[in-house]
Amino acid sequence: MVHWSAEEKQLIAGVWGKVSVEECGAEALARLLIVYPWTQRFFSNFGNLSSPTAIIGNPKVRAHGKKVLTSFGDAIKNLDNLKGTYSKLSELHCDKLHVDPENFRLLGDILIIVLAAHFTKDFTPACQATWQKLVGVVAHALAHKYH
């Protein structure tokens, strides 16, 4: 089980409290599809993904981004049981969606960059370190049920 110090929990809650899940989620997912274009293959029914502008404006990307980040919020509420929280989603991503878990790591890193651009200097090194740890354990929990 992952241990979270009081300071880490504070740094997570502090940032999360100020995040717009819809905006941030949409931004993160759009960037994943733009920066790592091979990830578009998982979203072939999303319509127009032909350019960064198309991706950013795509309503399905926005909606799914919100869904992904809302789920991230569940992780934050259940820091002491991430594997349990993500058990079903892990199975889904493996058995139905066939997503390489490496992509969870990529999305996590992108989320950090989105937060950095949003919070600018308030996204301190300590803040980044805590969030890198968080995205790492979330990615690990999502990969846990792979077989």
Binding site: I34, I55, V114, H118, T120, P125, Q128, Q132
Partner: protein, 151 residues
């Protein structure tokens, strides 16, 4: 492969730092040590406390090297050739205080992430998805070149 547009965006973004390149280099290193403590093992000979002269000095070197690479995006292999040799020897075998045994791709991806974070904190919304993509490709290319001489 860096497109013409990527190259333009990279040069623009570096240009926006307005003389703060050395600070950016040092901050990227500091963030890397904070977020990825195992990377400290590459610098056993350094004072790794916040703001140390050695972190600032090395950050300045990193920034200069990146700045030079950015001026020579059409020939990264040549521009980074010396550094490639240096990292290949020092990081692989351990020399100049460095402990050696490093996997260059692995190590540099953490620095790349931290550099992106520093740039994003400084540029805010100007760190657009297109810029993000171009810088990501650039840092990937830098890591590849630096790893060329490893084996």
């Amino acid at each position: 492969m860096l497109t013409a547009e990527d190259k333009k965006l990279i040069q623009q973004v570096w240009g926006k730092l307005g003389g703060a390149e050395e600070e950016v280099g040092a901050e990227a290193l500091w963030r890397m040590f904070c977020s990825y403590p195992p990377t400290k093992t590459y610098f056993p000979h350094f004072d790794l406390s916040q703001g140390s002269d050695q972190i600032r000095g090395h950050g300045k070197k990193v920034a200069c090297a990146l700045g030079n690479a950015i001026k020579n995006l059409d020939n990264l292999s040549q521009a980074l050739s010396e550094l490639s040799n240096l990292h290949a020897y020092n990081l692989r075998w351990g020399r100049g205080g460095c402990s050696g045994g490093a996997n260059p791709r692995f190590a540099l991806q953490f620095l790349a992430q931290c550099l992106q974070v520093v740039l994003a904190t400084r540029l805010g919304k100007d760190y657009t998805p297109e810029v993000h993509s171009a810088v990501d490709k650039f840092m990937s290319a830098v890591a590849s070149v630096l790893a060329e001489k490893y084996r």
